[in-house]
């Protein structure tokens, strides 16, 4: 078993690029190319699969494909009774739904978006409006078999609406951007904010992602699986908002760093508990951090409804922080881009320096690669587990402080947008490397900003992002799947990444 551990640790060190002699130069090149190719293909595959999900859960598409062709009953064919379509619809409510083709005297009419409730009947008012003079002999058939384009067109429409909303919400409308730049060249900058709003919004969304991604990446490097970034985020937010609103009259150069520090300490201590329990009792951090998430939620619920509640209000939110604790906003009002983005980037550089250029980082990585070996080498496991979880939790707490100080300026009850699980996907996608995490965070920020637009434009729930993330994690963790789909060979035989073990230390 110890032999297996040694192999794993070698694979890990090799994956970090620390042992160049471990593989042949050619294999090394292939491996390096694949470290970029596989995440890329993983994202593309995940996007394709979520596209499929979007299409198959679209009611219009479902209707367009699955309605069986039928001829509406007798009243239509009885020439004696001059029955109108609306009456027919009235008598046969479930017969017509969105996406149905209504054939009238040889002409095809596509009935779409004329239904109050997509699952129930066409509204009489709409029917009257659309078909004022319909006589007998109406056949209603939907008809993938007679008219396959109906279903395909519906599917295409669903997909293109969704993904163009995703694109416009994340990057912006290219035509608008071009127009704004042209106007700006001509000396009129007034169009710029609107055109670039989506792009800046993506960066705003990416800011906490960078920090929580770094948090989990750092814990991965130390061989710990911090699944509790969510709870640490809450605790960091609570402490930093408390420092932000309760200390009054401090100058900005004291209050601002103090508030940031409070976020780090709040999240860090909350994370360190799990690290300490792991080191001293062997209790697995995965379960402990999740349990501490729930405890943090309950605690914040209590604080926001009790001691920290904003006076004179009904909503469970804290008072607004002092202006001296607010991070400066860099652009005028509609654009929410704030200095926190650069704080996050600086943290990424700091984490890189800490992990790869200092003794502390070397110890952390050694503990992560091979705890047993680290112990024999005289490295204090307890201290490193606690330190790793403190730093990890501190980064998550900093993410919260950043959000509060730069963006919302108070702490609401529904504070997190599911950062706990997002952060895992980020760390995996970024290969636990600060640069990779920043790139992954930019991608996720872009996707999430776009998904918000997608939700409003195409009624696709925001949760599609979680599904996307889960698929990306699966593909990155099991690159054989990607290799099998796209038919290329493995660059290296050894395992890709190994972070945590079973329940034992």
């Amino acid at each position: 078993m110890s032999a297996g551990k040694a192999e794993d640790s070698q694979a890990l060190v090799a994956a970090e690029g620390g042992l160049p002699g471990g593989a042949s130069p050619r294999a090394g090149r292939v491996a390096r190319r694949q470290t970029l190719l596989i995440p890329l293909l993983a994202i593309i595959t995940a996007l394709i699969l979520s596209g499929v999900l979007i299409v198959v859960t679209d009611l219009e598409v479902i209707n367009a494909f699955t309605r069986i062709p039928r001829r509406v009953a007798e009243p239509f064919t009885d020439p004696a009774s001059e029955i109108s379509l609306e009456e027919a619809l009235w008598r046969h409510p479930p017969e017509v739904v969105v996406g149905d083709v209504v054939a009238v005297e040889g002409k095809d009419l596509l009935v779409v978006e004329t239904v109050e409730d997509a699952i129930k009947q066409i509204s009489l008012a709409d029917a009257r409006h659309l078909y004022p003079k319909l006589g007998p002999g109406v056949t209603i058939h939907l008809n993938f078999f007679q008219k396959p384009t109906v279903g395909l067109r519906a599917a295409w429409k669903s997909l293109s609406v969704a993904y163009s909303a995703l694109f416009e919400g994340s990057v912006g409308n290219p035509a608008k951007i071009a127009a704004a730049i042209r106007a700006w060249m001509a000396g009129n900058p007034s169009l710029l904010p609107e055109a670039f709003y989506p792009l800046t919004e993506s960066l705003v969304t990416a800011t906490p992602y960078i920090l929580v991604g770094l948090a989990v990446a750092l814990s991965f490097r130390a061989g710990l699986f911090n699944i509790g970034a969510e709870g640490q985020y809450f605790m960091g937010g609570l402490l930093s908002v408390f420092v932000g609103y309760s200390l009054k009259g401090l100058p900005i150069y004291i209050h601002l760093p103090l508030t940031i520090l409070a976020g780090i300490v709040g999240g860090g201590l909350w994370g360190a508990i799990a690290g300490f329990l792991k080191a001293t009792t062997g209790a697995h951090e995965v379960i402990n951090t999740i349990m501490m998430n729930y405890i943090a939620f309950a605690l914040s619920d209590w604080l926001l409804n009790g001691p920290m509640k904003r006076p004179g209000g009904f909503r469970p939110i804290t008072p607004e922080i002092q202006p001296s604790a607010m991070l400066p906003s860099l652009f005028p009002s509609p654009i929410r881009f704030h200095a926190g983005f650069f704080v996050a980037l600086a943290c990424a550089a700091l984490v890189y320096w800490l992990l790869f250029k200092t003794t502390i980082g070397f110890e952390l990585r050694t503990v992560g690669a091979n705890p047993r070996g680290a112990r024999y080498a005289g490295i204090n496991l307890t201290w490193n587990f606690v330190l790793a979880m403190f730093l990890s939790g501190g980064l998550a707490g900093l993410a919260a402080a950043n959000e509060i100080m730069g963006l919302i300026h108070y702490m609401p009850n529904a504070f997190s947008a599911g950062y706990g699980f997002d952060s895992i996907a980020l760390a995996l996608l970024g290969r636990s490397h600060p640069v990779g995490v920043v790139l992954a965070a930019l991608l996720f920020g872009t996707l999430r900003a776009g998904a918000t637009r997608m939700q409003s434009a195409a009624q696709i729930p925001l949760d599609i992002i979680s599904i996307l993330q889960a698929m990306i994690i699966i593909f990155i963790a099991a690159p054989e799947i990607i290799r099998a789909i796209y038919r290329f060979r493995a660059g290296r035989e050894a395992g890709e990444m190994l972070f945590t073990r079973g329940w034992k230390v």
Binding site: F225, I287, M292, I460, P461, D463, Q469, A477, M497, G502
Partner: protein
């Protein structure tokens, strides 16, 4: 005596001391928290009959004088603690710990219900109801982990099963169809976990987390796309209680155990079946062998991969049954993230129960009991904010994991992918 302590390993010694101190602390806690805030002549009436229509024979309620019983329980706990510190209970430690915990709970109930009365049967009933999904999660863990696969995805499997049981049950208008489809789908998730961990040798914690995220995203997607928009898609109805003839008439035991719904009975059947299968059949022997030493099992001709696949898929289905209970067995509707960590608590129960079916069930009962507390205590308006009561199950999970009950040994080969040679 000294000779014995010398041969026991220092960890065990430290643990037994910790336990002794813990028992003493329980006694002190009872005194400080409860005795000092109760008055002399108060009594607590424990209701012994269910508060609903029941076939059980009626029995008289139990009246306890508050102060004497509190004193008795505090003194007994302290005595247990001193005995543990002086002599040690040895193998009986777990049982004594259970007794101490019972004292703590009972004294809390006595204190909380003073002058008001408390329906004990109602509490036990609810506790069993709340323990059922946790027990099923733990049983799912037994199946997977005994064969060497860490299943952290139980939470996600339960959530998915809950969602599909609501959706399919509503669409098909049949509870059975909803139940079966949900269990099959969560079996599929089990298969996904198995393929990732066995075929692709992905780190099992990561593959489990991926499934959890997939389930959270997928069920929330379905919920906000369909279930919240069309309420009739989220109204499957629930399995009604099914009193067993004769057994339901027994006082106390009858209303608690034998007037439950179908899924609770299924849980008991599974509990016994898994216990028998695991310890008395060739399949169980192979499972345990594969979990402890897959290479040795392989050498003896056991198909390691097959055993693991079968167990993980079955485990997924058992977890799915737990998820359906949350919908078809209690509130007949699906809400986003309704499992609220029950899958993880089930894992803690599994560890608490030392990877044994009955141990895991016992631990689940404790969690179910704690969970019942917060609901009941709010009704009794105990002066503790409800949010703190809500933390209790999670805190206890952490305490359990920290090894108050003693370090349990997981199956040796757990979490490691097997390479065939």
């Amino acid at each position: 005596m000294t000779a014995i302590t010398q041969v026991t390993d220092p960890q065990a010694l430290r643990r037994s001391r910790t336990l002794g101190v813990f028992f003493v602390l329980v006694g002190l806690a009872i005194y400080i928290l409860f005795v000092r805030s109760s008055a002399g002549a108060q009594v607590t009436v424990f209701g012994m009959n269910p508060g609903r229509e029941s076939q059980a024979l009626k029995i008289p309620n139990v009246t306890l004088p508050v102060l004497p019983s509190l004193y008795a329980m505090a003194a007994l706990s302290v005595l247990l603690g001193f005995f543990q510190l002086a002599r040690g209970f040895g193998r009986g430690e777990g049982l004594v710990l259970g007794v101490a915990a019972l004292f703590l709970v009972l004294s809390f109930l006595t204190w909380a219900g003073r002058d008001k009365g408390l329906n004990l049967i109602g509490i036990l009933e609810t506790a069993l109801q709340r323990a059922t999904p946790i027990a099923l999660a733990a049983l799912s863990g037994v199946l997977c982990e005994r064969s060497g696969i860490v299943n952290i995805a139980i939470e996600g499997m339960m959530l998915t099963a809950a969602c599909f049981s609501a959706l399919v049950g509503s669409v098909s208008r049949s509870l059975w169809v909803g139940l079966i489809v949900a269990v099959l789908i969560s079996g599929l998730l089990g298969a996904l976990l198995a393929v990732m961990s066995i075929r692709f040798k992905v780190n099992q914690i990561i593959s489990g987390t991926a499934i959890n995220i997939l389930s959270i995203g997928g069920t929330s997607f379905i919920s906000s796309k369909f279930l919240q928009v069309y309420q009739h898609l989220n109204n499957p109805g629930k399995f009604s209680n099914l009193p067993l003839p004769l057994l339901a008439r027994i006082p106390i035991i009858g209303p608690v155990f034998f007037e439950s719904n179908l899924i609770v009975y299924m849980m008991f059947v599974l509990l016994i079946a898994i216990h028998v299968l695991l310890y008395y059949t060739p399949w169980g022997l192979r499972t345990r062998a594969v979990g402890e030493h897959p290479r040795a099992a392989d050498t003896l001709g056991v198909d390691v991969f097959r055993i693991r696949y079968v167990n993980v898929i079955l485990g997924g289905m058992v977890a799915g049954l737990g998820g359906t209970f949350l919908v078809l067995g209690s509130v007949p509707r699906f809400d986003e993230l309704m499992t609220a960590g029950k899958g993880f608590i089930g894992l803690a129960a599994l560890i608490f129960g030392k990877w044994n079916p009955f141990g895991a069930f016992g631990a689940s009962l404790i969690f179910g009991f704690t969970d019942t507390f917060q609901a009941k205590m709010q009704i009794l308006d105990v002066p503790i904010p409800s949010q703190f009561m809500r933390m209790a199950p999670y805190l206890i999970t952490m305490i359990v994991l920290a090894g108050v009950v003693g370090r349990a040994e997981p199956p040796a080969a757990e979490g490691q992918p097997y390479e065939k040679q």
